[in-house]
């Protein structure tokens, strides 16, 4: 993985010292809250319901074991012993004190971590494929390009005060694990007919109160022109984005207002004015970054592991784990292992300090020192030898981290909701826990198959409810928590926005309603159809009937 150099490290230390000074000035009264708030937000520090919340960037979802151990230490020393992985591959701590924040940033900087640009109207952490460098599906390693964007966008003077926040996703596989089409910019890395690499550029996707699947504005952008093109897109947005209205300030509103074609034309016009020699990345720098990711020390192994096969044949629980949480690796004899943070009664995406340390140890001993975070709030060991899988499984089981439910009904995305968040209208976590309990039977969950449930506690849609097979949005109905269900969304390569099923339901009806939806699906699905496929074939009606007919 990419290693910070001296310049990166000095920069982080300076930034941390600067924030220490800002906190001191706030506490002494030299800075007002209105002056201080944008400064703390630029360092990922929010004031939530019970305490400050610190959002720490995990660049493109990639961590090493010492970084994860440091996060565990922070959880233990400054929080209540746990952290929360977010839908943007970051981690949040819920119980931070303002007076401790500078010390925490120092501790993060020691392991090349920070909270810069995890909030504010700037370019945020780039989302990427958690299987990068491990999956045979990819045409290139997307982390290379994420790192290019990280270096380019960090404290970019022109793009630090955009009309609104700005999120980029990069995938290099046909199967999209980044929700690229609902980002401000989605970059799909493709191989052209002549073998050259280029990006399909999607601009103006997004969720929130106005969800859009982004349109493609450029079919094939040669990779060496990436930065100048991004500069052109951001410049058009910076110039014309709606700064007058926070609800219309995202780039998706501008792209929708102009139309994708006109927006693309303006970008091309701007792009033509940019000198590539100034704006684009020199080949030598790209080669340096690329080399940092090429060094994964894989061994040459046979494709078949006797240890693995014997364990799978002899242990049904292990076989189930392999079916649901283990994916093919590009190298023979290796596998990608997903670690579910969605055990029964667990808060989706939460991990205790002890669990983080277990995962760090496993990555060190059996995972080539590599770890990933997924936007579905799970963790990944991207490079585990098949020979080591039974041992890794046993260690995960002992730490309650071996729940075999990836992409199944109980692998639910949920934002912190009203249990923590100052913006939320309703709770999300207890709803997720109710549904997981309803589908605790793993045989049944496997029979149901892939079913992505995502819950947001408000219309800002941090829980991605618009792009869920079954989306759940918490609303405040005359002061009570109600939940609006929607069906048929997808954040993957077949992206779509879900449609509202019917009137919102009270909290205690939601898990039952999901059960009724699943029942309806099982009754009408054709062979091989996922829930989403059946919905797309039959539409809302049979599902509406299942949930609302009995209720009347």
């Amino acid at each position: 993985m990419y290693q910070y150099d001296l310049i990166d490290r000095e920069f982080l230390a300076d930034r941390s010292a600067e924030f220490r000074g800002q906190v001191a000035r706030r506490l002494s009264g030299e800075l007002t809250e209105d002056q201080f708030k944008p400064l703390r937000l630029m360092n990922g520090l929010y004031l939530q319901l019970h305490a400050y919340m610190l959002r720490i960037a995990i660049p493109y979802g990639s961590l090493n074991p010492s970084q994860l151990r440091r996060l565990a230490e922070i959880a233990r020393d400054y929080d209540k012993g746990y952290g929360h992985f977010t839908t943007r591959q970051n981690i949040q701590f819920n119980w931070i004190k303002l007076k401790d924040a500078p010390d925490i940033l120092d501790k993060l900087a020691e392991v090349d971590l920070h909270a810069i640009q995890t909030s504010g109207n700037c370019i945020r952490n780039t989302t990427s494929d958690p299987y990068a460098g491990a999956t045979a599906e990819e045409v290139d390693d997307p982390r290379v390009w994420c790192e290019v964007i990280r270096q380019w966008s960090t404290l970019h003077p022109e793009f630090s005060f955009l009309p609104r926040k700005f999120k980029i996703a990069i995938t290099a596989s046909a199967k999209d694990r980044t929700a690229a089409k609902v980002h401000d910019i989605g970059l799909l890395l493709r191989q052209g007919r002549d073998g050259r690499l280029g990006f399909e550029v999607i601009v103006g996707g997004g969720q929130g109160r106005t969800p859009y699947v982004g349109p493609t504005i450029k079919e094939f952008l040669p990779t060496d022109r990436l930065l100048s093109y991004l500069e052109a897109v951001l410049r058009v947005y910076n110039r014309h984005g709606r700064r007058d209205n926070i609800y219309k300030a995202r780039i998706k509103i501008l792209v929708a207002a102009l139309g994708a074609e006109e927006f693309a034309r303006q970008v091309e016009e701007e792009w033509a004015k940019i000198d590539p020699a100034r704006a684009d990345l020199p080949a030598s720098e790209l080669a340096r970054i690329r080399a940092a990711f090429a060094k994964t020390p894989f061994e040459t192994l046979p494709a078949r592991s006797e240890t693995f096969e014997v364990a799978k044949a002899g242990d049904a629980a292990f076989a189930r784990f392999v079916r649901n949480n283990v994916r093919d690796h590009k190298k023979p004899g290796y596998a990608i292992v997903e670690i579910s943070l969605k055990a029964q009664a667990q808060t989706p995406g939460d991990a205790s300090a002890d669990q983080l340390e277990v995962v760090a140890d496993l990555a060190e001993r059996y995972g080539l020192n590599d770890l990933r975070v997924t936007h579905a709030q799970n963790l990944v060991l991207p490079h585990v030898k098949l020979d080591d899988l039974p041992t890794v499984f046993a260690a995960l089981q002992a730490a309650n981290l071996a729940t075999p439910n990836i992409d199944l009904v109980s692998d639910i995305i949920a934002c912190p909701g009203l249990d923590y968040c100052a913006l939320a209208n309703a709770r999300a976590i207890p709803i997720a826990q109710d549904i997981a309990r309803q589908f605790a039977d793993l045989d049944r969950a496997e029979r149901v198959g892939e079913l992505k449930i995502k819950i947001s506690g408000c219309i800002n849609a941090c829980g991605h409810h618009h792009v869920a097979h079954i989306g759940i949005l918490g609303v405040d109905k005359k002061g009570e928590e109600f939940y609006q269900l929607s069906l048929g969304g997808s954040g993957a390569e077949d992206a779509s926005i879900g449609k509202i099923l019917g009137p919102a339901l009270p909290a205690d009806r939601v898990a039952t309603a999901v059960d009724q939806l699943v029942g309806a699906y099982l009754g009408i699905r054709a062979d091989g159809e996922r829930f989403l496929d059946t919905y797309r074939r039959v539409g809302l009606e049979p599902f509406k009937e299942a949930v609302y007919a009995q209720a009347d």
């Binding site: 319901l49 249990d419 923590y420 002061g479 928590e481």
Partner: protein, 121 residues
């Protein structure tokens, strides 16, 4: 009935107004009768004049629950208790009658002041 709440600047802790002081427990909060609106306004104004001690000062509505007073909105009850997914975290960890009454309360309305807060963000 009303109380006045805020978050403490230094650590973000939820606090309540009590006769010129900020206290941690809802059970210790000063309760204002509805015909003492001027006292509520005065407490809020004093809090807003203490920017190095508290932030986001606003009044909340209360209802009766099990013979005690509890915040009317569930948002304010969660603030006064802690997150419902972690019953040992936050103020609720102490337990006791007030915590039990807050957990039982079932009033439903947004707290006064909250809408104003969201607009400012």
């Amino acid at each position: 009935m009303k109380a006045v709440t805020a978050n403490r600047l230094l650590d973000g802790e939820v606090v309540f107004w009590k006769s010129g002081q900020w206290v941690d427990r809802f059970g210790d909060a000063q309760l204002f009768d509805d015909h003492h609106a001027a006292d509520v306004e005065a407490a809020v104004a004093t809090g807003k004049g203490q920017p190095t001690i508290v932030v986001d000062v606003y009044p909340i509505d209360l209802i009766q629950s099990e013979g005690r007073w509890a915040p009317l909105s569930y948002r304010e009850r969660i603030r006064a208790l802690g997150p419902t997914n972690e019953p040992t975290h936050g103020k609720q960890a102490e337990g006791g009658d007030v915590v039990a009454a807050l957990r039982q309360a079932s009033g439903a309305a947004r707290s006064t002041g909250r809408v104003d807060l969201i607009r400012r963000k």
